[in-house]
């Protein structure tokens, strides 16, 4: 008789531990951390139109940083973007669009005409991928202070800079930072993270959203 009681009271507790353990081990719900606020910006795109951070609010945006005269050295960065662009079909983000924004920190050279030519050279789909630059002081605030991407101009118009990709969600929160020692980068990782973010977006309503918030909570809440 007593044994039965013990079994009856112990079993649910064991089940609970197994469930929590399974959650931790198998990660049925994956979330990307909410890292930082993405900076607000007011830039000009390849069509000489104003482009602001508000224009892409609600979209998932992948940012890269470069300057058009970089040439072959930068092709690895662009190849990553090109590969991710070609694999967007693998990702389901519901009714949220995925966009690419490449910010040039060389506004003197990178006029809208230069950026248009640059975009066509990279086979950038104009519906997905925009190129933009802006006022040098504002760029410092946005790129260096906001996105925390280092760049430095040298005499002769060349720049040294860190190859970085940044993933921002529809809230305007940075969800992924990909900082590489070399220009060679990992498109697989970015595609996988876009997928994880898409999954979260598609489950952002009703009871499922609570499970995702709980996952955030377990990961790293304040």
């Amino acid at each position: 008789m007593r044994k039965k009681w013990i079994i009856r009271s112990v079993v649910p507790v064991v089940l609970l531990f197994v469930a929590v353990g399974a959650f931790v081990v198998f990660e049925p719900i994956q979330v990307l951390p909410r890292i930082r606020i993405s900076p607000g910006y007011l830039l000009m795109n390849q069509d000489a139109e104003t482009m602001t951070s508000e224009d892409v609010r609600g979209d998932i945006v992948l940012y890269s940083f470069t300057y058009s005269e970089c040439g072959e050295e930068c092709m690895d960065i662009h190849n990553t973007m090109i590969e991710v662009q070609s694999r967007l079909g693998e990702i389901d983000t519901g009714d949220v669009d995925v966009r690419f924004v490449t910010i040039s920190f060389d506004p003197e050279t990178d006029t809208p005409e230069v950026l248009t030519e640059y975009a066509s050279r990279l086979d950038a789909d104009p519906d997905v991928w925009q190129f933009a630059t802006g006022d040098p002081v504002h760029l410092e605030n946005v790129v260096k202070a906001g996105f925390e991407v280092y760049y430095q101009e040298h005499a002769g118009g060349d720049f040294s800079f860190a190859p970085v990709f940044i993933l921002v969600d529809g809230w305007g929160v940075i969800r992924g930072e990909y900082r590489y020692q070399t220009n060679a980068s990992d498109a697989d990782k970015i595609v996988r993270h876009l997928d994880v973010l898409g999954e979260e977006v598609r489950n952002s309503h009703g009871a499922a959203s609570l499970a995702y918030e709980a996952a955030h909570f377990f990961l790293c809440y304040p």
Binding site: P33, G40, G172, Y221
Partner: protein
């Protein structure tokens, strides 16, 4: 017979204890506070730049120990800013005494027209404890950028002069000076008050 009563008593006791533990210890943990906006999970320090109020220089760092709610707007703002500031005033009322530990701050995105005095008059109209701050164009641009805010001059009517399109989010800075929460314009006063209360602890 007595043995049976004893057993029932023990079972009832265990059940009541179980329910109490579940209600007060387990459920609150399983059911995290649902925020009205996006919570920043890493420690992103709020810009500590000095801005100017009618009562002298003001920096986020001055309010360490308090929760600071930052909003970007301007005094000529026709609709969005008054609506948001009213909502923030309502949330302060909902917080009651705890509102003492909260500072609401509006940063002007129109430094050309908003003098510190004009800002003070404007924000205290919504709530006596609100402060309005501004700075030179470069400072405001930098601070706004880092708070994820962008603003752009737009053509207004002849009566109003130019207007300014600006990000309408409300940003919450915790007691330690970290950016913690981005609230959308659509949030209600109740939601904002609940979120502030969460960060008050």
């Amino acid at each position: 017979m007595i043995k049976n009563w004893k057993r029932i008593g023990i079972v009832l006791g265990v059940i009541i204890l179980g329910v109490l533990v579940a209600r007060f210890l387990i459920l609150p943990r399983l059911q995290p506070h649902v925020f009205g906006g996006a919570v920043i999970q890493s420690n992103q320090q709020a810009p500590r730049t000095d801005l100017i109020s009618a009562d002298g220089p003001v920096s986020i760092a001055d309010f360490e120990g308090e929760v600071v709610v930052v909003y970007f707007g301007y005094t000529f703002c026709p609709d969005v800013c008054p609506a948001t500031l009213n909502k923030l005033a309502d949330s302060m009322a909902l917080l009651g005494d705890r509102a003492d530990e909260v500072q609401i701050m509006m940063v002007s995105v129109d430094p050309a027209r908003d003098t510190p005095e004009l800002l003070k008059e404007y924000v205290t109209h919504f709530h006596p404890d609100f402060i309005g701050v501004t700075g030179d164009e470069a400072t405001v641009n930098r601070v706004a950028t880092l708070f994820g805010v962008v603003y752009e001059v737009a053509a207004g009517t002849e009566a109003t002069g130019y207007t300014i399109d600006h990000t309408s989010t409300v940003i919450l800075v915790d007691r330690e000076g970290y950016l913690k929460l981005v609230l959308p314009f659509e949030g209600t006063a109740e939601q904002i008050a609940a979120d502030i209360e969460y960060f008050l602890g």
